[in-house]
Symmetry: C2
DNA sequence: CGGGGCTCATTACTCTTGCTAACGAAATCG
DNA sequence: CGATTTCGTTAGCAAGAGTAATGAGCCCCG
């Protein structure tokens, strides 16, 4: 293990770290969270859901990261590893590893960069493109099944939330 | 829920200086099932958000799993390790480790089970309770800050979504 | 020009976190 | 009382992501 770091005294009521308000703000300053447990609920639910998504990955043995990269390439066209890393908010070495795994499966291909010989361009192969298309409708059974069981209104809520979550995850 | 139509929405917007791709755009079929890319969008966003939540963990060195357990105990009262594992959808050995880490920090305590000497009851200590209270309003700066920047309507959407995501993650 | 400094990708290593397998102790059922 | 089941734990392993260091290549500035 490591240093236990015994929590000795813990300030019970931490004075709120209120950021200084900017003077010219006509709107309500909203210093308190208008949604009480949201932060905790969201954190717990997202963490657990991600864990289950990773675990329940059935047969399409693409990791979450690999799938995300494949989708990003399909949506935005070929990119350098650096651009992919920025997009997915991982460090370059992690992206190197993901690309390596995808390349081993012949789902992506590294092409030389036309102007800069340090860089590569990563692009989908035909097989990669086919997998994305296939997954677009079939994807991973577990989540698709769960989503199918929801009420239409709930799916709609999730659809709006997915866009917000995407922004959150990228900000 | 088999969807027979080829969802083929790949808008090529190549950021690279070399756009001579197969740059034709198939007429947008837009057959629009109930939720087109929801499964993929949600999966990617949840994965990325979980990754960032884990990474951005600032100083309160509680892992996602540890935080979840603390909150579960605060919400539902003391529980056996088995119950906690079921609740958080992890295997018992993982829960053993989480509880061990929390116990080292004196945030939880193991009590003997009154009727069954195989089992324990895990309960929050005063310090654990204080940390939960503190985190309820302070929590992790990163997510709280992001949430605060959202529109009220967006937070409301997330609040509804959080409940749905919780159910999803547990089903 | 040409060198210093930067950027890009990769390698090497570590850490965290979750899993399965196996095990000992205790309850329970026959 | 013995067999079986359940609970928590230990041991070992694998995946995923991060930091540090490295080498190749670009580019600006003197």
């Amino acid at each position: 293990m490591r240093n236990p770091d015994p929590v000795e005294k813990m300030d019970q009521q931490t004075p709120a770290p209120e950021p200084p308000e900017h003077a010219d703000r006509p709107a309500p300053p909203e210093p308190e969270p208008s949604t009480p447990g949201l932060e905790a609920d969201l954190r717990v639910a997202v963490g657990r859901l991600a864990r289950r998504l990773r675990a329940q990955r059935p047969d399409t043995s693409l990791s979450l990261g690999q799938g995300a990269v494949l989708f990003a390439l399909a949506r935005h066209g070929r990119m350098t590893p650096r651009a992919l890393a920025d997009h997915e908010k991982v460090q370059p070495p992690s992206m190197t590893r993901i690309i390596g795994a995808l390349e081993e499966r012949a789902l992506v291909r590294r092409e030389p960069h036309p102007q800069d010989r340090r860089q590569h361009l990563v692009d989908l192969t035909e097989q990669g493109r086919a997998l994305v298309r296939q997954d677009t409708r079939r994807r991973e059974a577990w989540l698709a099944q769960r989503l199918a069981e929801l009420e239409p209104g709930e799916r709609e809520t999730l659809r709006e939330a997915a866009e917000i979550l995407d922004r959150l995850s990228r900000s």
